[in-house]
């Protein structure tokens, strides 16, 4: 509340800065026209002294208060601002000229900028208006669906969590595929910058554009440029919004009555029938102190409020009573997001500044989960002399969040507990759940205190000196520090009363020095040269510390001084340095033939002497056909450019000391220190090298109203840093070696069009699609067919391996069985094939026979044709990574209203699921809630005609179970294709006439939504990605659906 008050008073203070009005004021009339004599609408004509003015109407007419001697400016986007002095005339005609400079887009590339027309490599730009059309809290989410070649996927929807980004599939198999993030030229992460401080985001995709960053560039680069000051008078922009959020996805599952009607019979026919009378969610042995509620109705007892009853499905004359509590209802309580942002932008010819402050208060929609972020920025350019400029970018942020210490325990496990859980225990506390691994989420959340503070400072200080005309020298130094500390405390509870306390954190420092020389010159009108050369040194200095203790006696003191037993205290430090040389030259002739070449040399401390230095060249060329004389008449085609590029980049993401082989200290023995080797030495280690070729086409029609960008690329990474598994007799699990080759290729297409553009109605449409494929070319020799690593292999059948990674095959495959049909009768089951994985427990006889099937089981497809179902019968069921990603967006403007919608989609991946199959396989002794599908599962002979699903069993995935549902198969590997209605906005812009009176330039009130709906087949929480650990230990926090009401005002 206090924050909002301060904010509002600042707003009024700014408004109050007004000028004086002299007595000889009169009304001036006039008309504004463009260079062709056409009237111009919406031009703001105002006095620079009094700030009073008017806006030109449909005929170009305007009127305003002014006086003789007043200075008046006429300004509108896309035209050169006109300023003149009033000579006392009644009427005035103002002619405005189109600002060619502004119309030509400037693109930020490494160590400089270039005109979009002259760009010969593959770079996509997202400008601030598009990025922040719907104001969100994270940069990565704001980029979804807006850029070709980017796959952006959320692995958790928790507040403040960034999504993961890969560009063109990445470049590696075992090492990181994450893009390099540069904020104003300095490495950082997306959470270091407030999205509203960003002027543009450039995505550098091909080798030629990224080669200038050499050894870190193989995965592409995301360059963030923050807003800089202007030399116009002070503009103040404020954006305030308030939003409501709740989970965008719920799992469709059984209620308590359905649960009991399915699980009790399943227990009765299993080996775990003893649980039917015990303190189990489906058992009748629950007492007043049990965590679950199910039991028989006692003689003479009346049903308590909130309890339900049913006939016991296995003893029909007994009455079961139980509570019905859906844990999702408890967890998904709903929450709010407050987002407030203020920026001041202005200056004069000497000094340009931009100052901003932002606040986000995100309470999350689940209990005790929040994220508060305060950011501050001051970007300043000061001209000391005409030739010498001082540039400073300073930003700071403070994030206070309360994350979940173990998100998987809540959303991958605890949330699935049976609805027969007691809502509240007799003493008013929450039910603890089943056991330590499957706790009631609300109980777990209330018992864990986990607070995290992040403080960051980023500062860049630079001096730019113009030596001679066109030649500039620049020295800049930057220092970033990110301090994180985290407080963890577990209150005494049923599962653990040790009161574990943990205090840990890190200090992450990055410093960088850049010295560059820029040269820009146009010779004899036709020859344009632009060159840059420089050196750079980057240094990382990181401290980590961690202290643990337990044994305190109070639940409300979280610090370690209250603990009685000290468990451990450690700290570590790591340093790294990289020195670099780089140069780039761009030449264009008549703006028709374009050529760019660059080179970078990097020396890194991560590799041994002799392998330290790498050189990374890049070259690209372009031909702008529309600059040819014979093309000038085709007015409908405003741009046709063909470009091609080729270059080499590196990926240096090995551990900092991997080549040296390491010994590290380990747990003590009888209190004495122990050391164990952790890595085997590898002095030949060096970086992975990627070479990429890109061919592209830029076409624009109808005076740039329709723009098309097409790219085809082919990338080969050799010297793949392969985590080669070592024999398990060697004492080491694996080692990184540079062997192996992989290929990524694909195409991208992007179109954006201004379909209709009229005075009061306009309609824009944009769409993009990216297709990406990979293939492994070479792997270390390991004696297997295709040198297969991982997956399923057989020592006696050379060709039968499937899955894992193999030469000539696509990566990220999922291997499993295929269902042939359901064994409907006991006879069919007796004649079924021997199934190695099935435990063969037959409830009719109470005996076990390995490999035996019973009625209601799946019969699997016998791929190998040997009459048995063994691991050899597995297929590749699909791939974890989508082949096609993209998005489309559209916006309308009708009078003062604006409507905007953005969708994104991904096709071609499968969800490797353990969430839904965990519950539908009755795992954890049937204490979890199956989904509604289970009601349709096979129950008796004849059902196979009407259902696709085998019988529901308790512990189907145990050694004694049949593994119908728990086995990875085409029944539990879902298609991951999704279409998400990602952003939506309806806005009303107040008219200029109304605003003029309050001297406000622009004011918009809007209603927006995020993550509105996601169409997909997968019934679990997260569809945007699929992990190779089957979603078992992933966070799985569902993404929030957010509705926001906001106000954006500029004056």
């Amino acid at each position: 509340m206090k924050k909002i008050l301060i904010f509002i008073s600042l707003l009024f203070a700014a408004i109050a800065a007004s000028g004086q009005n002299p007595e000889d004021e009169y009304v001036l009339h006039g008309k504004v026209m463009d260079q062709n004599g056409e009237p111009l609408t919406g031009v703001l004509v105002f006095s620079e002294n009094s700030f009073k003015g008017g806006v030109s109407d449909e005929n170009g007419n305007f009127s305003m208060d002014t006086w003789k001697g007043d200075r008046v400016s006429a300004t509108i986007l896309g035209f050169v601002t006109q300023t003149f002095e009033i000579a006392g005339q009644d009427n005035v005609v103002i002619r405005m000229e189109q600002d060619i400079e502004q119309l030509e887009e400037t693109v930020v590339i490494g160590y400089g900028t270039i005109n979009r027309k002259e760009l010969t490599s593959s770079v996509s730009t997202v400008k601030a208006e598009s990025l922040n059309k719907v104001v969100g809290t994270t940069v990565s989410n704001a980029l979804k669906g807006k850029v070709t070649g980017l796959r952006i996927y959320s692995t958790s929807g928790a507040p403040g969590t960034q999504a993961s980004i890969t560009i063109r599939g990445g470049s590696s198999i075992n090492k990181s595929n994450e893009a390099l993030i540069l904020i104003d030229g300095v490495p950082g992460s997306l959470s270091n910058v407030n999205p509203q401080d960003i002027a543009s985001v450039e995505v550098l995709k091909d080798a030629a554009s990224t080669a200038i960053y050499g050894s870190r560039a193989s995965n592409g680069i995301i360059m963030i440029t923050t807003k800089e000051g202007s030399n116009q008078k002070l503009t103040v922009n404020a954006n305030v919004s308030y939003g409501y959020q709740n989970a965008s996805k719920r799992i469709d599952r059984l209620n308590a009555e359905e649960y009991l009607s399915v699980v009790r019979p399943a227990l009765a026919r299993s080996q775990y029938a003893s649980l039917l009378t015990q303190a189990h969610p489906a058992g009748t042995g629950n007492t007043e102190t049990s965590a679950f509620s199910t039991r028989y109705l006692r003689h003479g007892e009346t049903l308590a409020d909130g309890w339900r009853w049913m006939w016991d499905p296995i003893s029909p004359r007994k009455v079961l009573i139980f509570e019905d509590n859906d844990i999702e209802d408890e967890l998904f309580e709903g929450g709010s997001i407050i987002n407030a942002y203020l920026s001041l932008n202005g200056g004069n010819d000497r000094n340009k500044y931009m100052i901003s402050a932002g606040y986000v208060g995100d309470t999350g929609y689940t209990p005790e989960r929040s994220w508060d972020n305060i950011t501050f920025r001051a970007n300043n350019t000061y001209s000391i002399t005409r030739k010498l400029k001082l540039i400073s970018n300073i930003s700071a942020y403070r994030t206070m969040s309360v994350p979940y210490a173990n998100e998987a325990a809540i959303f991958s496990r605890g949330v699935h507990l049976s609805p027969a859980i007691r809502g509240v225990m007799a003493d008013g506390t929450d039910s603890p759940g089943w056991d330590q691994n499957y706790q009631n989420p609300v109980y777990l959340i209330n018992n864990i205190v986990n607070k995290r503070n992040d403080y960051g400072f980023r500062g860049i200080l630079g001096l730019e000196y113009e030596i001679i005309d066109g030649l500039k020298a620049k020295v800049s130094g930057s220092y970033n520090a990110a301090v994180m500390h985290r407080e963890y405390f577990e209150k005494a509870n049923v599962y653990n009363n040790l009161r574990n306390a943990n205090y840990y954190g890190s200090i992450d420092q990055t410093s960088q020095i850049d010295i560059t020389l820029n040269y820009d010159k146009t010779f004899r009108k036709d020859h344009k040269i632009s060159a840059v050369a420089g050196v750079s040194s980057l240094y990382y200095n990181i401290y980590d510390y961690n202290a643990q203790a337990h044994g305190g006696s109070k639940d409300d003191i979280y610090t370690l001084n209250a603990a009685s037993e000290y468990d451990s205290a450690t700290s570590t430090r790591e340093r790294e340095r990289m020195n670099s040389f780089f140069a780039r030259a761009t030449y264009s002739w008549k703006e028709k033939y374009l050529l760019t070449a660059s080179i970078r040399g990097d020396g890194s401390s991560r590799f041994a002497r002799g392998n330290r230095w790498g050189w990374f060249p890049g070259i690209s060329a372009g031909y702008v056909m529309t600059e040819e004389p014979f093309m000038q008449d085709a007015r409908w085609l405003s741009l046709l450019k063909i470009r091609a590029s080729y270059g080499a980049t590196g990926n240096n993401s090995v551990g900092r000391f991997d080549y040296q082989g390491l010994w590290g200290s380990s747990t003590a023995y009888v209190g004495a220190s122990t050391w164990l080797p952790s890595d085997i030495p590898n002095t030949a280690l060096t970086w992975e090298t990627s070479s990429q070729a890109d061919v592209g086409l830029d076409i624009s029609f109808l005076e740039n109203r329709i723009n098309l960008v097409l790219d085809y690329y082919d990338k080969i990474t050799s010297n793949l840093l392969f985590n080669d598994k070592l024999p398990n007799t060697s004492g080491f699990g694996s080692v990184d070696k540079n062997i192996g080759k992989v290929r990524f290729w694909g195409f991208e297409a992007q179109i954006d069009a201004r379909l209709i553009s009229r005075k009061n109605f306009s309609w824009d449409f944009g769409a993009n699609v990216s297709w990406n494929m990979n293939k492994v070319l070479k792997l270390p020799d390991n004696g297997n067919y295709k040198n297969r690593v991982g997956g399923v292999q057989f020592s006696d059948d050379y060709y039968a391996g499937v899955g894992g990674i193999a030469e000539g095959e696509r990566m990220y495959s999922v291997v499993g069985y295929k269902v042939s049909h359901i064994l409907d009768t006991a006879e069919e089951a007796a004649n079924a094939m021997y199934d190695e994985r099935a435990g063969g427990y037959d409830p009719a006889t109470g005996t076990k026979e390995q490999g035996r099937k019973i009625a209601g089981d799946y019969e699997w497809v016998d791929k190998s044709g040997d009459g048995m179902i063994t691991p050899k019968d597995q297929y590749v069921l699909g791939y974890l990574v989508p082949t096609t990603t993209g998005g489309f967006n559209t916006s309308f403007r009708i009078y003062n209203f604006e409507v905007y919608a953005n969708f994104d989609y991904a096709l071609g991946h499968v969800i490797y699921d353990r969430q839904i199959s965990l519950v539908n396989a009755g795992m954890q002794d049937g204490t979890l809630t199956p989904t509604k599908d289970v009601l349709d599962y096979w129950q008796k002979e004849g059902d196979a005609a009407g259902t696709e699903y085998a019988r529901f069993d308790i512990n189907d995935g145990s050694n004694d179970g049949q593994w119908n549902h728990y086995r990875t198969s085409d029944r539990n590997t879902y298609k991951g294709d999704y279409l998400s209605f990602r952003e939506f906005k309806v806005a009303y812009n107040f008219s200029h006439k109304l605003l003029n009176k309050a001297r406000i330039q622009q004011c918009q009130i809007y209603l927006s939504g995020q993550n509105l709906y996601c169409w997909s087949e997968y019934p679990g929480y997260m569809t945007e990605y699929s992990s190779s650990n089957r979603n078992l230990s992933d966070g799985n926090y569902p993404q929030p659906r957010i509705f926001t009401l906001g106000l954006n005002i500029t004056f």
Partner: protein, 485 residues
Amino acid sequence: MKKFKIIAVSFLISLAASCSLDILPDSSVSNDSYWKTQNDVEAAVNGIYTQMRNQLDSWKWIYWFEARSGNMAQGMTSCGIGSYIENEITPSLNDVSWSTLYNIVAQANAVINNAGRAEFHDTAVHDKLLSEAYFFRAWCYFQLVRLWGDVPKITNFISSLDDPQLYPERSPKDEIYQLVLDDIAKAGELNTEKSIESRNRVSRAAILMLQTEIYLWMYRVEKASDQYLAMAETAVDEVLEFPGLQMLGNYRDVFETENNSEIIFALYYDLLENTSQYGTLLCQSSTLVPEEYRNNPIPVNNSNNRIKFSDSFCSRYLDKTPGDTRASYICDEIESGGTVYRYTLKYQGEMNGNTRAFTTDTRMYRLAEAYMFKAEILALKGQDAEACSMLDKTVSRAYGNDRFYSAKALTGDDLMDAILDERMIEFAGECKSWFDLIRFGVVFERVEKLIGRENDKQGNILYLPVHNDSISRNTKIKQTPGYEN
């Protein structure tokens, strides 16, 4: 002015480029630079013990050394023990991978191959540390060869990718037995100190116990010469005379008191180091046991009860002699609400707040076993009366009778059976039952699930199959005949 600018710029450039790229790790040590002082070797030897704890998790102890004998059964919650009890073991089961033992061997090899590089002031200290490393290498290979038969023989510390032993083949078991014999002999030569400094570390007494066990196995199972029986007797006699060792009067105390005088070598578990000693698998579940019995007397923990002593164990051994004071400590039952809760008090650790921590040290060798070995040797030599009186020394506290077996005057096969029965009870749950059955030559008679299966898996039924992962990582390794797919 111009000159100044040029100098300034070149100075800045050289400054930027001259910052060194040689950065040594601040918090860890590289492989080459590790072996410098005596402390480094000590820390590496301590690492062997830590690896024994880390690598041999509770499942390995039970599955490899107990489960197949039929003395254990599934507890109240399912686990993978079924395959082992049934003796239907397949190469895809998690716990048939030998990597755990090789990881311990690797650490022992590190010490054996590199201890000489460090500076020692006192050769006795150096020798003692080396003897510990040899002990563990011998112990590990002794288990490897008995569990898998032919196994790779690794004696180098693999510290480079060019090492010839990086991709080994399976060596014949006779070679491995020879390595075991050489190593344990070496350990005995290096450590001649007749005292036990710490019962949590390998002393000469522990080395002698392992020697006895190895020689007895060679004699009885590998049909080696009589010399081995004599060597076994020499070794065990020295243990029986060892200072600092004495039988306790009460069976319970042997397990409730750490570092008591009966322990020769116990692997240390502690709240600050490792609380997952294998007793955790035998513990009951706090969710299932009715409240009035939780920790009173049934030890419970908030995890599942995976394993219990089997019905056949209880009827055949535990209940064999009425009045056996060990019985209720080893295994007892309480019935409540129609369910029988079978529990043990052995190896149940300590309470840490309201969580149970399994910190009872794993007693790998204790004095009672020395007496049992001596009894076995005497019986093999035909000295039945003396064997009986040795047996009595162990069990007198159990039956409250100094002459329980001497009075029965057992001979021949009956005596052997009695010795084995007593071992089954005395060392119940101490991970000795499986190899005891093989050593006494009765595994195909006493284990219900193995009756008549001598020729199963081409005669290799007593071995474990090689894990699929071992083969996929090194194609020179071939699966044991009988277990191929």
